[in-house]
Symmetry: C2
Subunit: 240 residues, 2 copies
Amino acid sequence: MSKDVEKRLVVGMDGDDTLWHNENILWSAEQKFQQVLLHYLSAEDLSHRLYETEMRNLSLFGYGAKGFVLSMIETAIEVTDGRIAVADIQSLVDLLKEIIWHPVHLIDSAAHVVEELSRSYRLILISKGELFHQEHKVASSGLADFFSAVEIVSEKDQSVYARILTKYDVDPSNFVMVGNSLRSDIDPILKLGARAIHVPYEITWKHEGQSSLDPKNRTYVLCNSLTEVAHALREMESMD
Amino acid sequence: MSKDVEKRLVVGMDGDDTLWHNENILWSAEQKFQQVLLHYLSAEDLSHRLYETEMRNLSLFGYGAKGFVLSMIETAIEVTDGRIAVADIQSLVDLLKEIIWHPVHLIDSAAHVVEELSRSYRLILISKGELFHQEHKVASSGLADFFSAVEIVSEKDQSVYARILTKYDVDPSNFVMVGNSLRSDIDPILKLGARAIHVPYEITWKHEGQSSLDPKNRTYVLCNSLTEVAHALREMESMD
């Protein structure tokens, strides 16, 4: 190791869909939502209407499972003109409980990669969503001890990342964010002058795939799996 | 001022029902919930059933408005054996939106007291609930700038307070928590060896009134309003 550990990169890591599966649980919940309502509307229209409700409610509910299912309940009432059975609404509340108590399944290699990275870098877990549910997932992941800090935030924008970097006294030029979401993990970090590694998840929620960056300015590194991240970080360091 | 500012007490302050009104909004929401269901059950029974559902769901939903209204929806379905009208369920979802967008009304004197205390003490706002909603309330309160730190937590127990004191390098003997809840603001802090000032709110949620402390060991100071807090803190300092 040619550089002092203190001077090595500080690595931010996203939780949902970067270290553990999340979107597949929500996807499967949406399938159940569609089953309940398929004799009212096509799967495609239902998906469209649910997304519209979610976007409308985002500034009220924030991100997370409770807001997701509350938007399902609202959409179900709307698209059926109030004709949905009360038992079906209860089944959506039950679906929320299934989502919340769904065991945390780590992405293949996440445990190994996080342990390996923690030996060389200061790691900060930066996870977006509902405090209570995210804390539960972080605790269940078994990975918390490898992180020097855990930040659970309600939004991941430039100002939130800037606040975190200031709090931990990290210069943007020394920070690399690793995550699956262009909107939440990559764009805001690049705008701050830090670097990013994009590790796409098998499913991307429409909202998280949206990027405001000019494709020409996308200077992040793409890794097809977490196992490539350590190598990508070493490459970044060798170019510093 | 006979003591160095650095050596003065560090003061933790609760948000909901200590600096701004909250329980009265939830109380009024519960009245509307009862109106919807009064031809099924008495107000007293409804209140009892709702509280039971809330307690059962607490470990799933955590504290906060979304969990509260989801418990209302479940209770409404249960106590009506599924006969509640779908339009009434939508009215409960609308009630949630009313709660979330309810303007923040400061407790009388809160702005003045917080400003005054901030001139003499390092203040930390420690607020329990949903991240997104609490951040909104803190921002809307206009008080954020008087606090040296804001901590939004999903639970207020001994370990959470211990973590906060460690994080800000505050010795428990130097810390005083000010809040309206025996369960959340007073008991855990006293068990840590810190001090507490209880400022009761006009309404106490059953859950927050519960205290595990032996009444003989209740060594906190009682203030009937926020305006007495500065005096109580000076008295504490004079005894140090």
